[in-house]
Amino acid sequence: MVHFLIGFFDFVLLLYFMKVGFDFKNIKIQILALIQLILFAFAELNFTHSGSPDFIIDELAIFMMIIINIVGGAIALYGIKYMLYEDAPKYKKDIFLVYLWIFLVIMNFAVISNNLLYFFFFFELTTLSSFLLIKFRNDDISNKNAINALLLNMIGGLFLLIAVCLNLFTNHSIYINEIIQNKDYISAAMIFVVFAAFIKGAMKPFESWLLGAMVAPTPVSALLHSATMVKIAPFLVLKFSPVFSYEISFLITLLGMFLFFIFALEGLGKNSFKEILAYSTISLLSLMIAVAAIGTKESYEIALLLIFFHAISKAILFMCAGILEKLHHIKSIDDMQGLMSADKPLALLILVSFATVALPPFGLFFAKLFFVEYLAKLIQTDILYIFIILFFVVGSSILVLLYFKIASLLLSTNNHQQTPAKTPLSFVASSYFLFVFMILSIIYLVTTKSDISIFSIIFGALFVSLIVSLFVFKFNNLQKISVYACGENTIGQIGQFYFDFEKYAKYFLYVAIFLWLVLFGVSL
Amino acid sequence: MQEIKIENLIEEITSFYDPKLHHFVCLNANDLGENRLKLQWIFTFYNQEDNYQIFWTICSFDEVLPTITKIIPSAIMSEAEIVDLFGVQIKDIQGGLYLDETSPISPLRCSI
């Protein structure tokens, strides 16, 4: 029954995509939908139930569901407040919120599916919901980016379907648990599943859909970047990593690590706050995929840590970006100057969130730390991992540069003094909630890993006392002086370094495509 | 020494001046009193010994003088200086490079 329903709805869904293709006169989408229809029909006809269940709730699924529901839930709640500021009819706002919740439900199902065909259905549903959410504002750019997202994600769907068909064709199981158990057989189909994950994870050269998604209302970006959609990528890789051969695992790690470095570099050249966050997301996403692909017990744990803390940090950052946009009317990082004096709690929240992505004693940092330790172990047995180390250490440093480049703008109070504005508590409540959740998780993490406890206690204490001092101490008894300006009466403009990597983007792309092809070749 | 009319200044200097051959030393002003100002544009020749070419004219303080900065970029310093020190008006040249608001006004003028 379930199977029939899912099959039926999948057909409806693909037909809908076809219709979208007709509506927007996009021949590529029509063709993709048509191929998918044919392949899907083929798959349905050849599909037979084996003994395995269609849904399995294992540890990984539970873990993903915690993230999806807690982080995603917080974002959805934040969406309610956010939509009050949005300029749209009431019914559309309601529909938007409903979409958000449905999205979360779909994600929940996607992570527990064991049957690849079912997974394909939910995979396509996430494509659909992201398409609808990105299209929400219905202006030209939204439509364009939504179509682009649909197109690229349908390519991902196609890869998934090819994998299913290949498996069916060669009389292999399409149940994930069976595939994983069968270590002797590594199907070429597997690589298609991984490719589908790459596209969902916006790896180069398919990153444009995620970057385009920022035209939608911010909760959508927050959801896409933190809890849903893109997290399918590391999730899939994590699922399948145990059966990867050494070459495939290494190549995926290399590709991911290379992209980690490249995206961080490209993010440096960007100007819009949400765009920079998006680049940092795909950068870290590539890292997650890279770590997940190693496929050992340690790397598994590190990948989970990365996924978990990245989801929280990015959710907070995107929610802050939404507040900035709606309350302070700031989109570009250049306009963020002086935020510290205008809205201290919000600015500090953004600053601390940056710290949570890059610095001790926060979760993402620990994940990176464990990864360095783990890499040091790996390289003893395999010298090729030196490339991974290189890209990793340089990429991490560049991400630090990226975050604190923005932080500098928050802090400097030059040029345009903003009018002080107070963010209503209900708007930041979700962020605070997630923040507390993160702190609790870090405390839990620290209690389980005794060797980091003293370190994190020292720096945690420093951090807490720093934040407290920033609010408490005003040094009113000390004499204030103006800054050194070389004898000038007025302070001139203060600006930032900017970086321009546009001209290298082409070469980055070539290398990425080359790595894809090598990966594909090796897997065959 | 060559006397020129102030109206012809730009043409004279344009037709004479070749950056590779002539070196512009400076524009010198000398207040002769009675609202008469002697201006000297002093040039020398490269690679020739003690050879001066001096254009001079006498003008009044009321006239707005033309600027040769467009022909000789370094002339701006001399022109800005006589604007400050003599209170002459030169087209497109702002005062204030040498003196500021608290300084004496046109200190090198003979009698004000």
Binding site: V372, V483, C486, F497 | -
Partner: protein, 279 residues
Amino acid sequence: MSIVFSFMLGFFAPIYGGIFYGIDRVLKAKMQRRKGPPVLQPFYDMLKLFSKTKFIVNAPHTIWMIFYFLSLWAVVFMIFFGGNLLYIIFGHLLATVFFIISGYSVNSIFSQLGSNRKLLSVVAYEPILIVNAICIYLVFGTFEISEILAAPNNFNSLVFTFLSLLFVVPTVLKLSPFDASKAHQEIVGGIEVEFGGVFYELVYAAKFLEMIFVYSFIFILASNDYIFGTFLVVFSFFAVALVDNSTARIKIDSLLKALYMYGFGLGIVSIFWILLCCI
């Protein structure tokens, strides 16, 4: 090392760090055929700075800087308690970020430029430190300083690590030719320009702590051979002073290039050297 001894070493770090700094200044002066200040000059400076009127630009600026000092001190404590090398590196990164943020939080163009440059120099030396920590791990099988110091001397394997670290030392200590982040002739000391009186003394004392931080990296390369370790430190101390005296300051982009090409390159060579030739 007993706990009390480690604690004392950490606690008095700003004091004997000051003496090292004084020696450094005398050494450099002697190289320039000058007499140089007395060895205790940093403390005379300290007394003078304490007696000055306390000026600040704004409160957050000062607070960030104080926490820079405190975290750096904590890092030094961690070194003397034999902590994990990676934690120490990242702790130092955190401290540096506090300092950078402090520089950003005032409206001064020179302070901001200093922060910009400091951030870039962090991007230059941080990967080298991590790669070198990995090298040390490959040789001794641990990141714990206390265990490294107990291991037998294996400096042959770490020759390139040592050379690579020699590039990091002047960058962290802001010495010529890698002192673009301080560059007093260009940006008037960078971040340091906006501090005065007792607060400048903290920035000044932080320099001593930074010295202890980088030289301890060199010291542990000799593991249990403390005499050789001391020799390495003295040697690099001397070499760094010599280079500081005989080079001009290079620009921040040349700094990035040089550190990535030579420092980072030597780090990679070091990994290959250890894995291919020494194990």
